[in-house]
């Protein structure tokens, strides 16, 4: 196996009393798209800022393409292309100029950067605005086109590691799909991609592996199917509770069918069960609704979302009265 382009070990970073990153370890290998998931404030952006040398870690190591990013941040920056969560400074520039300059700053020839910019504009379907300058205070180009341009600026040059921080914010559904295709292509061409997001459903479709952060710690890691923790045939029963209503699955023993995992998020309860138990599950849920013990229910194929919620809610179970994931 080839060496990872991003190796983070035992990374710790504090802001005063808050531990934003608490002993984080993760790997991104060439050709791999790794999703970094977590709620707001989970420590995702803090991690990224240390990789590109904007913040200094309190402890632990970061290696980018084999380079010690803490000791040699300038070298590490040459190996990482970042699309930050904030908008890139595009005022006065056209998408064409911005993408070409980004390529030139990474050592591409004039012809290569020009061809690369054109190709990405076509892939992302932003040709219509390719030569329109962005003007100050958000004029000229929409937020979505600016975001796609910033993405293209990170994607145009061949670098070992690409870090994308919420790349699809403000982007319409059709172009989101195009963007994910480019992300997949970058991985297939051999780049490592670290995709920072809190959108579990979108990430699930493009990533090879996922790392879930919660309160600065890695609470789960693995491939999407590993994290789903169940066979693809599993189903998810979602119960919508009444406001302040009791939870009929509070005690697993009261549920008449075997439950692989139970997660509660506010008024929603997500129960993972085997496909063969679909019929009794529907019967049970229908009875609950008829007796008005629940507001409603739905049954669908199991997704990563409940695994994600299970992983991120277990850490603060005591404070929010959310039950731990119960593995039966």
């Amino acid at each position: 196996m080839s060496r990872a382009v991003l190796e983070v070990d035992d990374l710790t970073r504090r802001f005063g009393a808050v531990v934003a990153n608490d002993g984080i370890g993760l790997r991104v290998r060439p050709g791999e798209v790794v999703g970094l998931l977590g709620h707001n404030g989970a420590g995702k952006t803090t991690l990224v800022s240390q990789v590109v040398g904007l913040l200094r870690p309190d402890g632990g190591t970061i290696r980018v393409a084999g380079t010690d990013a803490v000791a040699a941040p300038a070298t590490a920056r040459r190996c990482v292309a970042l699309q930050p969560q904030a908008q890139a400074p595009l005022d006065g520039l056209t998408p064409r100029m911005a993408i070409e300059i980004a390529g030139r700053l990474r050592g591409m020839s004039r012809a290569d950067s020009r061809a690369g910019a054109r190709a990405l504009a076509d892939e992302l379907d932003i040709g219509e605005w390719f030569d329109r300058p962005a003007t100050p205070d958000g004029g000229g180009l929409s937020g979505g086109v600016r975001r796609l341009t910033a993405f293209a600026m990170a994607a145009v040059a061949p670098v070992p590691l690409i870090v994308l921080d919420e790349p699809t914010n403000d982007v319409d559904a059709a172009r989101r799909r195009r963007l994910w295709k480019v992300v997949r292509r970058l991985g297939d061409e051999g780049a490592g991609v670290l995709l920072v997001t809190h959108n579990v459903t979108e990430a699930e479709r493009v990533v090879d592996a996922l790392v879930i952060l919660d309160h600065g710690r890695v609470v789960a890691a693995g491939s999407p199917s590993q994290l789903r923790g169940s066979s693809d045939a599993d189903l998810q029963l979602e119960l919508s509770l009444h406001p302040d209503g009791e939870d009929p699955s509070e005690s697993i023993a009261q549920v008449p069918i075997p439950i692989n995992r139970r997660v509660r998020a506010g008024r929603r309860v997500l129960l993972t069960l085997a496909a063969v138990d679909a019929e009794p599950a529907v019967a049970w849920a229908t009875a609950l609704r008829r007796t008005e013990r629940i507001d409603g229910y739905s049954l669908a194929p199991a997704t990563l979302e409940d695994a994600y919620l299970a992983a991120t809610s277990s850490a603060n179970a005591n404070t929010t009265r959310t039950e731990d994931a119960a593995d039966v």
């Binding site: 904007l54 393409a65 920056r77 930050p84 904030a86 100029m97 070992p160 997949r184």
Partner: protein, 265 residues
Amino acid sequence: MSEQNTLSPPAPRSAGVPPRIGIWLSYGNLLRWMMAQTGAMLPFVIVVQALLAAGIIIGFGFVIPDIDTSSAQFLSTGTPTVLLMFIGLVMVPHSVAQARTTGTFTYLRSLPVPRPLLLLADLAIWLLVALPSVAVAVVVAHLRYGFGYSFDWPVLLTASVLASVTATAVGYAIAVSLPPLITQLVTQVLVFFVMLFSPVTFPASQLPAWFQAVHDVLPFRAAADLLRAGLLADTYTASWRDLVVLLVWCALGVAIGVRALTRRD
């Protein structure tokens, strides 16, 4: 998606460290980038400079009744300094504070270029914005008072560039050292200090001795006297001391700016 994985041949994307690119190539592209951002407001800035110059040269003229030629000359030849200081100490910090608020500052710091180049590019762009103000002030003063100049071009050029770069570097240093909101306040106070409490548009002899001593180490009188020596070489001579004072402030501003760009919190 996974079927595609196995079908598409891996393109040559190396996993090694990309080679370092030439410093001039980096600088040139940074300048292109920043010029596109700032260049759009250049005509606007020149109009503001002309208005400010008229405000000082004509407006201050009203404050002094029966102004004689030497006072008019002093006032007029101090005006370029006020304009350069206004750009460096108000417009530059405003722009940097905005860049810090919007994330532009962070974005630029994450680029694969040596970070001091970011400051050098800013200095060059603002120099380009500021230099026309010297010409604007000279023309406005000539139209109002009609006196002639005796240019010492090497002194004038050196003084203009140094005063502009120093003001920009100090303004940059202020904006990276203070929170954005405080930066706005400080720069407003500074511009009043330069216009009303600095011997730029009036002779230092009108100030109390202790305040003159303060201005011996501040960059404002030094910049004004150097520029005046370049504009009225027959009457005023440049002093090495003023040059050294400006150079020290310039170096201090650059050092603080570079430190803020390269530091990892």
